[in-house]
């Protein structure tokens, strides 16, 4: 397999309600990514794009619809979709295109416009639940998270205050991100005082509904070295899924991530991830999920993650900064675009281009991860400079 590098990145602001059409959002991110590495569309061999449920943008076969906004006109173009995991999975998908030797350059673009769903995007999730055993109870996604969060808290004796620390950390980082849709700092009290949606999930434990797009440019090694002095290499990729039957799954430990992470680390030659990884961008649609995922990524011992967070281990200037971008909680959550945003962030961080939120000490290795489908799939990408 050939070595693959990220040579450019771009994203739109994440916003509550964009005037742009989904195609136009995709174009803005793609154009910015191309401009960032001085490439033209004619230099691109293929497109790997991603978007979560068609229903969010309200366009069936959204991949085909989005293609020209992603630079896919008259090019080999393929959409990937694994729900919330899409944003990182699309990068693995693009990596395949180049690692295989088929193509030298690939655009990876992810877009989501959730504001089109009225009254709320949650309505579209009704049909992901089992039609016979669950749907008549009118479930929604919050139920899944609430059950997981409660089980996780009970398993390790954590409190809602412990879980609120994540929203505080990530939202604080997000304030330094020009793409963020937020402008206010949030305290533990704010999180605890925000209304309970489905116990134990409170409103500020949850990432927002957002519109946005993010894109990266991938290139094979010789092309990458010609294009830039600072290529960021994709060192490892991994993806797996756990059972879709909740009853046979650990709700307090993300087994769907354990194997995906080990797969990516093995490929990257990483034996001690907690010591070797310098920056982590775990998927954080809810506060507790970032902790869950730090454990699944083998970056924190099970049941010790809150202590490490309290000790500043995961702060911007800590040993292992968590979500320096601000994450989904701090920047916004246009589903597929949010995962790609995490890899954009690692690209900027490892090149020393992250501005105000730059992690000190010349970080060398970063890991990004996203989670989705029926809440049981995970995708992991390890990058290094």
């Amino acid at each position: 397999m050939r070595k693959v590098a990220i040579v450019g990145a771009g994203m739109t602001k994440f916003v509550r309600r964009a005037l742009e059409t989904p195609k136009e959002l995709a174009y803005e991110a793609t154009k910015t990514a191309l401009d960032s590495c001085d490439l033209r569309l004619e230099d691109i061999d293929c497109v790997a794009h991603g978007s979560a449920p068609d229903a969010f943008d309200g366009i069936h076969q959204k991949g085909e619809y989005l293609a020209d906004g992603c630079g896919g006109w008259n090019k080999p173009t393929m959409r990937v979709y694994v729900g919330g995991g899409t944003g990182v999975h699309a990068i693995i998908h693009g990596w395949h295109h180049i690692a295989s030797g088929m193509f030298d350059t690939c655009l990876v673009v992810c877009e989501e416009k959730m504001s089109s769903a009225m009254p709320h995007a949650q309505g579209f999730f009704l049909t992901i639940f089992d039609a016979i055993t669950e749907r008549s109870l009118h479930p929604n996604l919050l139920w899944i998270f609430a059950l997981e969060m409660n089980r996780y808290m009970q398993r390790y004796g954590y409190t809602k205050e412990d879980m609120a620390l994540v929203a505080v950390n990530n939202k604080r980082n997000g304030l330094k991100n020009p793409a963020s849709q937020f402008k206010d700092e949030v305290t533990v009290e704010d999180v605890l005082n925000s209304e309970i949606m489905a116990y134990p999930v409170s409103r500020l434990d949850v990432s927002p509904v957002s519109d946005g797009a993010a894109a990266i440019v991938l290139a094979a090694e010789p092309v990458a070295r010609r294009l830039t002095d600072k290529p960021i290499w994709i060192e490892g990729v991994g993806w797996t899924l756990d059972t879709a039957y909740w009853g046979t799954r650990d709700l307090y430990y993300p087994r769907y991530l354990d194997k995906a992470a080990r797969m990516a680390y093995e490929m990257a030659g990483i034996r001690e991830p907690a010591k070797q990884i310098n920056i982590a961008e775990p998927y954080d649609p809810f506060g507790y999920k970032a902790l869950h995922h730090m454990e699944g990524l083998q970056l924190s011992p099970r049941g010790k993650t809150v202590e490490l967070l309290r000790d500043g281990h995961f702060a911007l200037d800590g040993n292992l900064p968590m979500c320096p971008s601000g994450g989904l909680l701090g920047v916004g959550n246009p589903i597929a675009a949010a995962g790609t945003m995490k890899v954009c962030e690692l690209f900027w961080q490892l090149r020393g281009e992250a501005g105000e939120r730059q992690v000190p000490g010349n970080p060398r290795l970063g890991v990004a991860q996203a989670w989705g489908d029926l809440m049981q799939v995970s995708s992991v990408v390890v990058v290094g400079n």
Binding site: T21, E24, Y27, R40, G58, N74, S116
Partner: protein, 158 residues
């Protein structure tokens, strides 16, 4: 398989009204950066605009913010007039539930500059319609326009 249900004639496979089981969520769309301006021109000025890519020599109708071929941002807006030619057409005889329509309706793809608008054709009998025929947009009275594609009532032969 416990239930065997086989349709041997296509015509038996019909559209039905979902009635009260309709999905409890809908989508609301924006016209976008290009669409906003495109429909404002139709609504306020009765004009159809395209956007031109100088390097590809293509004028997109409806106007867009980018060229899909070279990815340049399109800044040059062009008034392409309100006339075009029939690029293709179809005549619709039945409703979606399979009942005969009171009168057949003609749907045309109208070529304007390098783009296509899909719309209705009026003022022309089914026998007389031809590909290549010149047509013109008939707008609703200004007070009735809402800033959408229905601000054009239909196209009619020149």
């Amino acid at each position: 398989m416990a239930i065997l249900e086989r349709i041997t004639r296509n015509i038996d496979n019909r559209f039905w009204d979902p009635g009260s089981e309709a999905f409890p969520v809908k989508n609301r769309y924006t016209a976008g950066m290009a669409g906003q301006r495109f429909f404002k021109e139709i609504k306020e000025n009765g004009k159809i605009f395209g956007s031109k890519c100088q390097s590809c020599k293509i004028t997109y109708v409806p106007a867009r913010i980018y060229c899909e071929r070279c990815f340049e941002r399109l800044e040059e807006w062009v008034d392409v007039g309100t006339e075009g030619t029939i690029y293709s057409f179809t005549v619709v005889y039945k409703t979606k539930s399979g009942k005969p329509k009171e009168s057949p309706s003609i749907i045309v793809a109208v070529k304007i500059a390098d783009g296509l608008l899909i719309h209705r054709l009026n003022g022309c009998s089914v026998e007389d319609i031809q590909i290549g025929m010149p047509v013109k947009a008939e707008f609703k009275p200004k007070a009735e326009r809402r800033g959408g594609i229905e601000d054009i009532k239909y196209f009619k032969p020149l």
